[in-house]
Each structure stands twice: as C-alpha cells, then as structure tokens.
C-alpha cells in the first residue's frame, strides 16, 4: 500500500496492526483485542481525515498510484472488451484506449485515458497524456458508435494532453477541438466518468457528455494546480493555494453545475476498496444509461448541446 503524506498517522497505526498480526507466540486474545482497538482507531482517523480533505489533498488522492485506472474498470465492468486501435492517419496512441464491449448486457463503446501502472506500462501509455492521434482515435470510435447506435462511456483520467513538439506539429489543438465536436454531435447516449484527474483540454475532449459523473475524490480543472501556480503565483510551491482557488473538487464542480453526479468513495478513498468503488461507479453509469436510452437520438444530441451552451450563463448557484 502506498501512503500519502497526510495519511502518515494512519500508516503508523496500520503498521502496528501488521506487526501485532505477526506476533504468534503471545497471548492471542489480547492481540485480537488490541488489533480491533487499533482498527477502530484507524477507521475513525480515516473517516475524519477523508471527510475534510483539502483540494490539494484531493489532488493527491486523485493521483494515488493504487487508484483504479481505466484498464481496471474495463476488466471489472466490461465483458468481451475488444480494443480498437488507431487514428487511421498516423499512429496508435496508447494514452487513450477505446473499444467495444458489453456493459451489464449491453454493447457500449468505452473510451478513456490509461496512465499505466508500472514504469514500463506508464511509458507505453505516456502517463495518460494523449497526442493528437489519441483524440483522433476517440473521434473515430465515437462516430462508429453513433453509426451502430451504441452508447458511449468515457472514463477520464489524465494530467492533460501531451505538451510536446511532435504533438503541436500534428495539430494537438485541432484534434482536441474535433473530439469535443464529436462528443457534442453524436446521437447516442454519452456518459463520462471522471475517475481520477480531469486535466484540462485533454479531459474535456472526452467529456462533453449528457451525464458527467465524478468520483468523490476526483479532480477536474482547466489546469493542474502546479501549472496554475507557476503561471499566476510564478512559483510551483503555491500549488496548494492554486488547488484551493481553482475549485477543482467534485463537490465544488457539482455546485457549479459542471458535474451532474458525485459517486461516494469507500472509507479512505477508492484505492482502499477498489472493487467496491468500481461497482459503485458501474451502478451509477448503468442508472444514467437506462435513463438516457429512453430518449430519442435527436433529443440526446440537442440536450447535450443545450447543456453546454448554458454552462456559465447562470453564474454560480
């Protein structure tokens, strides 16, 4: 288990529990009592810590290395997943994965960012930062889903689009713009779940959806706190201040009307109970999907477009 800075007291207690469990030659009943006492303390501490996470702490939780990723959700929730590769122009960008599969009995097109889990897979997926080809693949797959009347589910988890010379040379901005346009054009249900980081243009490219769901400790922002701090505060050290100011938490975004639903995470965050988190998100996606499937394609498209046309018009509620 990887621990975050602010989880240090929790880590210490859990370390003690581990130690006690390995002491076999002492009085077992006493150990059991002690373990139970410490566990209760851990739970209490987790509850109090996670109930009042600061935006900066949430940023760390959203980036937690053990947090479920795109591939975990697909393995857990989607049967017969068949990845479809390539933008049909330049490359296969593994920062974004997409494909057909069956979610709770129904064919869906699933598209999302994959950050990778270890060094090798992180490099292969470019840490979830897509180049133009990734967005062009997403656009192709959305159009395919539209053609075959198959709903689209996107899972967003990216620090942002890849900032590189090659990406710019091939039209990173154009590719993102077209992806947003595709999100808003299709006549099938489009549901987005922000499962970790929703970083900037790289996120909205897949997230102009009928229903946008966010996990409780995910973040979604126009720029990373570090990036914002270095531009506006002229120092990356002010990332905490930037995180506060940006209103990037699920709770703030729900209040702003940017996010439709917030899915609670298990005690201590998604990384502590991965399956439970994935099941909960699956249930929410299924409910949203069922509601959207009752609507005609033209209505789905019009409502989606109207929704984004209204963004910011009413100010903050």
């Amino acid at each position: 288990m990887n621990f975050l800075d602010f989880e240090k007291p929790i880590a210490e207690l859990e370390g003690k529990i581990e130690e006690l469990r390995h002491l076999s030659d002492t009085d077992e009943i006493n150990i059991a009592d002690e373990v139970a006492r410490l566990q209760a303390k851990v739970d209490k501490l987790l509850k109090s810590t996670y109930a009042k996470l600061t935006p900066w702490q949430k940023t760390q939780v959203a980036r937690h290395p053990d947090r479920p990723h795109f591939s975990d959700y697909v393995a857990h929730l989607v049967e017969d997943f068949t990845p479809l590769a390539g933008d049909r122009a330049f490359a296969e960008d593994r920062a974004i994965i997409g494909g057909l599969g069956r979610f709770r009995g129904r064919s869906v097109m699933v598209i999302g960012h994959e950050k990778g889990r270890d060094t090798e897979s992180r490099v292969r997926h470019n840490f979830g930062m897509a180049r133009p080809e990734g967005y062009r693949k997403a656009r192709r797959l959305m159009a395919m889903a539209d053609r075959f009347h198959i709903p689209v589910v996107t899972l967003v988890d990216t620090a942002g689009a890849y900032p590189g010379v090659d990406a710019e040379a091939r039209g990173q901005a154009e590719a993102i713009a077209r992806a947003i346009e595709s999100c808003l054009a299709i006549r099938v249900p489009l549901i987005t779940a922000i499962i970790g980081e929703g970083g900037s243009g790289g996120a909205i490219a897949l997230a102009a959806a009928n229903t946008v769901v966010m996990l409780e400790h995910s973040i979604y922002s126009v720029i990373s706190p570090e990036g914002c701090a270095s531009i506006l505060w002229r120092s990356g050290d002010n990332a905490q201040d930037a995180a506060e100011a940006l209103k990037l938490t699920a709770q703030d975004l729900h209040r702003l009307g940017v996010v439709d639903l917030v899915v609670p995470e298990p005690l201590g965050g998604a990384h502590r109970a991965r399956n439970q988190t994935m099941d909960a998100l699956g249930d929410t996606i299924e409910q949203s999907l069922t509601a959207l499937l009752a609507l005609d394609g033209g209505v789905l498209r019009a409502r989606r477009r109207d929704k984004f046309l209204e963004m910011g018009r009413q100010g903050v509620h």
Binding site: T82, F90, G105
Partner: protein
C-alpha cells in the same frame, strides 16, 4: 511454357523421376525453414507450429475456418467481358486467365459466400491469391459489388478478406476504375448502417489497399501480413535506402494507426464472432427487439419465399 512442357513433361517426369515422398505431404515454412507434415499444418490452420508464420490460405480454407460449422453457400458471380484490352505481354492475357482458371478451378480471384458466424448472418468476399496474385480487375470488382449488394439485401454485415498484389495490369485503366467502383460498393453497405469489416491477409498491396480495404469500420490484420501501397522494391529503388525490418507488416500498421488489431489466426474466428455479436446484438437478451426495418427476404402471403 508450351504444349510440350505443359502436357508432355509432367508425364516424362513421372516416368523419369524416382519414386519419392510426394512433395505435397510436406510443406516448408518460408520463415524458419522447418518441414511440416501436411496434416499438422491443416490442423494448425496453416500456421507454422515452430515459428508462428501465417501461410497464405486457399479460399476454401479461409471460408471453412470462419463460418459456423464450416457451413456456407457460395454465390455465382456475374461474368464479365474477358480481356477487354486484348492485352498481351510475353503471353496473351486471355491465355493467362485460362491458365489461372485451370489451375484454381475458379473463374477469377474472388469468391463470395454467405452464412452465419456466431449465429450472425454474414456475407464474405474472399480473395484468392493463387489466381493471378489476387489481382483486381473487372471480375473482382464485380464480385465485391455482388457481395455488397447481397449484404444489403440480407441486412447482413460484410466481411472482405483481401489478399492481393493490387490492380490487374492486364486490364489497364479498367482495373484502376475498380478502386472507385469497389468504394461505392462498400459505402452502400455502410450507408445502410451495416458493419463493414476488413480482414487484411498477406499480402494486401497497391490499388486494393488504396480503396475498399482501408475503408472498413474495423480493420483486422493477420500477424506478419504485408500491407501497404507501393511495393518494397519500388520504394527502395526510389529512396535508395534499405527498408527497416518489419516495414509494411501488420504490426507496423498497428503502430501507425491503420489497423484496429493484429489477431493470430487461431483467434480470428472468435474475434470476428465477438465483434459481430457486439455490433448486431447490442441489447441484453430478453429486451424487446424491434423488427428489422426491411424484410430479409421477400415473403408472399403464404409465408413462402
């Protein structure tokens, strides 16, 4: 070759050559050089069990391995005017055609069949590389048009399996026109909302790649298949450089965004079935499925077709 080499020599050879193991019992793998017994090769769908090299299949092998229970119906294709340009190089095109027809017992380089895969109705058009390198002339164009029309008529997905050196030079500009013609054909299938899947087999090059073969909703390639536009020798002599290993191979195309997946032949059928079912049975079983927009076959009042 003339009548003498064609008809007399084989007999002389039989008579002269000492009796040995018939060569068609053993096949040599082009990649690793191993000799493989024909029954093993057949069982393994013509994939070398030593190095995984995917050998070219005949049309019959291809259709047998894809359809449910190897059951399908081939349709007769419309005849086209043979040798429209009265073309001859070292030999008359009309003679080449007859020779290829005699060798393959097929009319031309494409076969069209329909049947089911995983219970889903499918129309398949498969190229026959043994017939003049699977080259595309009017007859092949005709075959693709017929396959597309059948797919629309049956409300069925279309699977095309190219294995072709490209356009058939002996039909000149008329073969070039098949690129546009086959594009119209497959677009008709797509316009009906029907899936169009391309299974790229070794080799898919030239005008075949640069038309219907790159227009699929989904592109599946066999491992190691050469897929590209210009021939490697042409490129090398133009740029005066040696081409890198793996250039124009299926895996190279995957990295370059041109194919959705590279699938081992052993998993080809299950992959196709899975995709067809995801696309054609998108709803959970038990949910009310609306009637198809058009009847699959014209049925009269008594229910007779």
């Amino acid at each position: 070759m003339n009548w003498l080499t064609n008809f007399v020599r084989p007999e002389i050879q039989q008579w002269v050559r000492p009796k040995e193991v018939p060569d068609n019992l053993w096949h040599k793998c082009h990649q690793c050089g191993h000799m493989i017994f024909h029954r093993d090769l057949e069982k393994n769908l013509s994939v070398c069990q030593h190095c995984g090299f995917h050998m070219r299949l005949t049309v019959k092998q291809r259709l047998d391995m894809l359809f449910d229970d190897s059951f399908y119906q081939r349709i007769e294709l419309p005849r086209v005017a043979p040798d429209p340009l009265k073309f001859r190089d070292s030999k008359r095109y009309s003679d080449r055609l007859k020779e290829a027809q005699g060798k393959t017992l097929e009319q031309d380089a494409i076969a069209v069949a329909h049947g089911t895969m995983g219970g889903v109705n499918v129309v398949v058009a498969a190229f026959n590389f043994q017939f003049m390198g699977g080259s595309m002339g009017m007859a092949v164009g005709e075959g693709l048009v017929a396959a597309a029309e059948l797919a629309v008529l049956q409300d069925a997905p279309l699977v095309v399996i190219p294995s072709s050196g490209g356009a058939r030079m002996q039909e000149g500009i008329l073969s070039l026109m098949q690129m546009a013609r086959t594009t119209v054909a497959v677009d008709r299938v797509k316009e009906k909302g029907l899936p169009y899947i391309v299974l790229l087999a070794d080799p898919t090059t030239g005008g075949v790649t640069a038309s219907f073969a790159m227009l699929g909703d989904i592109h599946i390639a066999e491992p190691g298949a050469v897929i590209g536009f210009a021939g490697q020798r042409v490129i090398e002599s133009t740029i005066r450089e040696k081409l890198p290993d793996g250039f124009q191979r299926a895996e190279y195309l995957l990295d370059h965004g041109m194919v959705d997946m590279v699938v081992h032949r052993h998993r080809l059928r299950e992959t196709l079935v899975r995709l067809l079912q995801l696309l054609r049975h998108p709803k959970p079983p038990g949910e009310v499925v609306p009637l198809p927009r058009e009847p699959i076959l014209p049925v009269d009042g008594d229910g007779r077709v």
